[in-house]
Symmetry: D2
Subunit: 254 residues, 4 copies
């Protein structure tokens, strides 16, 4: 039986592409996303066409019990989850405090912070019982600094980063590798960046910045995700950043 | 009319003592805490006995609308809030992930992160309309690193720190001073440390470490809170740490 | 005998102004700077005209033995040094690596890092023998992030910040307070900013940004320096930032 | 002609092992170290026995011109340097300030900070002219926090980290990848850890902690060094940490 790589947040950008990479290396990729059944099916079909194994589910991560049930069923029906990629973002664009509703603020936390906690609560006991596992967490610059207009996003991601550290502190000695992967730049991802800037602008961005490797490319990011997940336990990385060579690091000013 | 200093989380440690300091300098101290009406009344009486002005309220910060209503009433009945001290903690002691219930994890966020967001949403528009104000936030080491057993606390405080940064980024240019005060050590506070370690151990701690200034003393901390709140706007501090001279900084190992 | 406040780097900006503040509070201000005897004399005269005590010395901090001898003589001839303000900068403007000579790079270190080490080596044993003391270190954003063009400055200040932490770790328990004060913005200082941008631009900056408190004002910064130096040892600050309310924090992007 | 991987600091631990890894992947490994000609020759012979290309040089990095000349000669005689691994440490064990001589403090800087600056000055123009290159810098926890007894080491490594950031800010857009690899734990390295703790203790450490993967293993670390050096430029890592699964991260306390 193949080991399972469970992707929470499997759009056509990082999530789906990392899933493909793991599938191509011998994992059964279990891809979960909130909507776009067609897009999900395409990811699954692509993996299968390449000779890999994949299963897809639509899942609303903020629904009570949805993450927990999915994990239980995957374990029961597909196999032991060796790797989780927690790839849910909570970016809602720049919004002044006055335009950030209570509901938005809470939703950010429910997706980005509480969602990870729930996944950890459900899957870690299983990993611990099996002697190990890996949890990769896609993170954003908002986890390390709060910009104006990022009240919901920064609060959610900052909480998530500290949760990753506390999970790592408790579970690394139990052979569970938690990695916090800080994406510091725009990703060439139609389902997130594409929707945020609109189809036309996205096409332009790809032609200009993208053509010069100025957008983070999911297929290349996936190499690093895979590498981190397979580091020998004598040499684990807990945190790393990823950005395009041509982009300004978050700590730099022009 | 005196300016108001509103303290959310006014126990006998930092909250009440900072309230006293502000009252002694000419503020009307409005002290809010969840329980112990007697203790609250004592704080108010002490301030009045020293010739200051104070009002106390019991208030459960996680109740829907409780923070918002209190702020509205204070503004209507007592006066404009010049300074808020947001002093709610979310420390629940060291708890393994398996002992950290969904409810606990959410409660940590509701108190430490969402509570500050709600206060900011309610009071900042009033401050902005008046041309300025100050929000002091008591924080903890868990805001900058997640230890084992701190899943709920670290997630809540890490989110709070990023929220402080995003509030500062949006509102400092509007003359609203947000300060994140990182308390990196044990505070000589009967309502928090006292309850956590028990009365007997707390008495011992005071006799040993406390006698050598090895516990953070609220009356001395209050001097720094007051100083930060009164910095000239050409020279504001957003973040500072406080610890006893004899304590190891969080980043050091023995 | 008055306690001594020794200022290394006493120009007309932070150094001289903090010296004045300490003198006005009962310290003998010992002001050291590299050049401009006239400017130095003016600072000393101003302090004396206000009824304070001050002595000035020209001193090239990178000369072998210069810092050490000055400290010894001050201790012998004026009195015990209670507070040191180490205020030497190493900013040489933005320079590409190709324009940063070996000599410049080394000079940055000699002033900003090695200078502090030498002061610490000389004065700390005296402070320790007397039971305590205070070392305030003016720092810059370059201590926490390296921008392009800041090779010399960032390397020097980054080293200095880590040195402050190691000094604090060894000597705080011996009642020696080391504080790292991160100045994150342009200071209204004719001897540094003034020289960097030129007299005319500096005059304009003062009329525009300065008039709106958009430059850090040394006389207000001095209040915070003084406050930190007089915190009770149960509640010491090791690191804090200072910037104008209207300035972007270093971690924020527009 | 094979691309060259130049290792500055090629002992039997990280430096030599990363050199071997690159040689096994098609690089000509140029190994430089200060002493132990025999050990150096053994590394070179091992690589050649595995079918790889390697050349070794004894070189004292603090000698004037030594790094510069070596780089020029390698470029002239062996080939273009595609990757530099700057692997010089400056750990001198825990030393109180009183036991840290001026000479030691300066030597730390000369090796760990100035050495990297000199290498960058010499090799970066060549890389820039060729359109790219990679500089991997082995770093230590002392680069991000200063412990007691680490005055020289922390100052040197803190300066180095900021230098890495300023180099990255200037040269990443020119396709030169600078990576700061933070080693947060004891490495299974006879030439460094072995010498620090003594042969007998080192043997014991290997049998106990090492046997449980509790020491960082150079051959596994080398995988990550190699991976980072070969990331696609749309997805570069500037900073990452490495530690054993069973070790406490530097930010955690027990």
């Amino acid at each position: 039986m193949k080991p399972v790589c469970l992707v929470i947040g499997a759009g056509a950008g990082i999530g789906g592409t990392v899933g493909k990479k793991f599938a191509s290396e011998g994992y059964h990729a279990v891809l979960c996303r909130r909507s776009d059944e067609e897009g999900l099916q395409k990811l699954v079909d692509d993996i299968k066409a390449d000779g890999g194994d994949a299963t897809g589910y639509l899942l609303n991560a903020v629904d009570e019990g949805a993450l927990e049930e999915r994990i239980e069923k995957v374990e029961a029906e597909i196999g032991p989850i060796q790797v989780v990629l927690f790839n849910l973002g909570a970016q809602i664009g720049n919004r002044a405090l006055g335009d950030t509703s209570y509901k938005m603020f809470e939703l950010g936390w429910r997706m980005a912070t509480f969602g990870l906690y729930r996944v950890a609560q459900t899957v870690i006991p299983k990993m611990e019982a099996r002697g190990g596992g890996t949890i990769l967490v896609t993170s954003a610059t908002a986890a390390v600094r709060g910009n104006a207009g990022q009240h919901s996003h920064a609060a959610a991601m900052g909480g998530r980063r500290m949760l990753c550290q506390s999970l790592n502190a408790e579970f690394a000695p139990k052979n569970i590798h938690v990695a916090h992967i800080l994406i510091d730049g725009a990703v060439d991802a139609p389902d997130t960046l594409g929707k945020m800037v609109g189809a036309e602008n996205f096409a332009k961005l790809r032609e200009t910045r993208g053509a010069e490797d100025g957008l983070l490319m999911p297929e290349h990011m996936a190499e690093t995700y895979y590498h981190v997940a397979h580091q020998h336990r004598s040499s684990w990385t807990h945190e790393l950043d990823l950005r395009s060579y041509s982009d300004l690091a978050w700590w730099n000013h022009k």
